[in-house]
């Protein structure tokens, strides 16, 4: 018969192992976070390299205006409240180039405020 101390030790091992497994799974499933800055009249970076199949979250900080972040080909858009970080999760993509733009008119230069996701194989 095992002693109470031995049982506590075993429970501790199991719990610790499970926690480590959960952490590893969480790490494996966590999307990569890419910081982007939006300001009149550009995104930085304007070209964002991605890997095909990669899960990504864009953390977009708008500095000066409620810009829009629109990816028409993915049917994604968000308003970017000034002074805040807006998180936009991108589903895994195939290799190619995907355009994004500001779709809230922000002034003389709005038409130049766009960028591209460069998805490599």
């Amino acid at each position: 018969m095992r002693s109470p101390a031995r049982r506590r030790w075993l429970v501790g091992v199991v719990v610790t192992g499970a926690a480590a497994l959960v952490a590893r799974v969480a790490v494996a499933q966590s999307p990569r976070v890419i910081e982007v800055v939006a300001r009149r009249f550009a995104f930085a970076p304007a070209e964002i390299p991605l890997k095909a199949g990669e899960r990504v979250v864009l953390a977009v900080r708008s500095l000066d205006f409620m810009h829009g972040f629109s990816v028409p080909d993915l049917g994604l858009r968000a308003d970017l409240l000034p002074g805040q970080v807006t998180r936009i999760e991108l589903p895994p993509q195939r290799a190619g180039t995907i355009d994004f733009l500001c779709d809230n008119f922000c002034g003389d230069g709005h038409e130049q405020m766009h960028g591209r996701l460069l998805v490599s194989p």
Binding site: M66, G68, L101, F105, G107, H114
Partner: protein, 292 residues
């Protein structure tokens, strides 16, 4: 000279004529008559840049060209971006006032104005309203019902729930076969969303218009002539009077086409739109800034 004869001569003299269908109109509404109006768009008064080194004079030349028409139009419409945008509210009002002063030289005094995003998006249309009144409205002419829709006072290019409800209520009073013309600035359909050439809730307006058999939309924004059908609804964009833009989605960036000193005003112009009492077609005639 009969209007039709005049249009034929005008076409020979530099205009380009095409017919724009309102397919299926077999029952003209009571009160229909022949008439025509002129559409000018995207004058961007206040623009200074290499894409039109003549920008300070181009609008005046277009006004002179319209005034030179042998037969005056019944009315004139400006479908938005009257001025080039500025962050400065005082400068915005100054540009609107200058624009208004220049177009006051038009001989035809019935002139309808719509805002573009350059006029209205940074202040919710406040300065535009001070100069030109409401940003959305209706009027009737020659048996045709005209609806001016504002898809620019919201910087997010939305018509918005309130205006859509207003549109729905207005349409509820129309016969399904009534001839309807919608005037607006941005395309109501997704022409090139990656260039912001769309209206975010434009599909809802088109859905409201779909039950009506004879609907035609005239708009601006894209600085070129373009024609598209969404179902039976025809959409026609107008040329600009400041600089031309590339064909929708034809290149990475929507940068203006460069000014050609050998061919000044290339790609710029305005149009006549002729409505006929019999039948449903509108006849579009394109004109350059200056007549040859």
């Amino acid at each position: 000279m009969e209007r039709r004869d005049f249009l034929a001569l005008a076409a020979v003299g530099g205009g380009a004529v095409s017919s724009a269908g309102l397919a299926g109109c077999a029952n003209p509404a009571a009160g229909r008559k022949d008439f025509y109006f002129v559409q000018l768009s995207d004058t961007h008064w206040g623009y200074r840049g290499p894409d039109n080194p003549d920008a300070a004079l181009t609008l005046g030349k277009a006004v002179a060209a319209v005034n030179a028409l042998a037969e005056p139009p019944d009315f004139i419409v400006f479908t938005g971006d009257l001025t080039h945008t500025t962050d400065d509210p005082v400068e915005r009002r100054r540009r609107l006032a200058e624009f208004k002063s220049i177009v006051a030289d038009l001989k035809v005094k019935t002139v309808r104005f719509l805002p573009g995003e350059h006029d209205a998006s940074l202040d919710g249309g406040a300065a535009f309203k001070e100069s030109f009144g409401d940003t959305h409205y209706v009027f009737d002419h020659g048996g045709v019902h005209f609806i001016a829709l504002d898809n620019v006072s919201d910087p997010g290019a939305r018509i918005g729930d309130a205006q859509l409800q207003w549109l729905q209520a207005d349409l509820a009073a129309r016969e399904r076969g009534a001839p309807i013309v919608v005037l607006t600035h941005r395309p109501l359909f997704d022409l090139a969303p990656k260039w912001d050439w769309a209206t975010r809730d434009g599909a809802r307006a088109v859905e409201l218009l779909m039950p009506f058999q004879n609907v035609t939309v005239f708009y601006g924004h894209i600085h070129q002539e373009h024609h598209r059908m969404t179902g039976h609804i025809a959409h026609h964009s107008a040329k600009s009077l400041v600089f031309a833009l590339p064909a929708p989605g034809s290149q990475d960036k929507r940068t203006p086409l460069p000014w050609d000193a050998a061919l000044p005003y290339k790609g710029l112009g305005w149009r006549e739109i002729e409505a006929q009492a019999q039948g449903a077609a509108f006849k579009l005639t394109e004109f350059p800034v200056q007549r040859a």
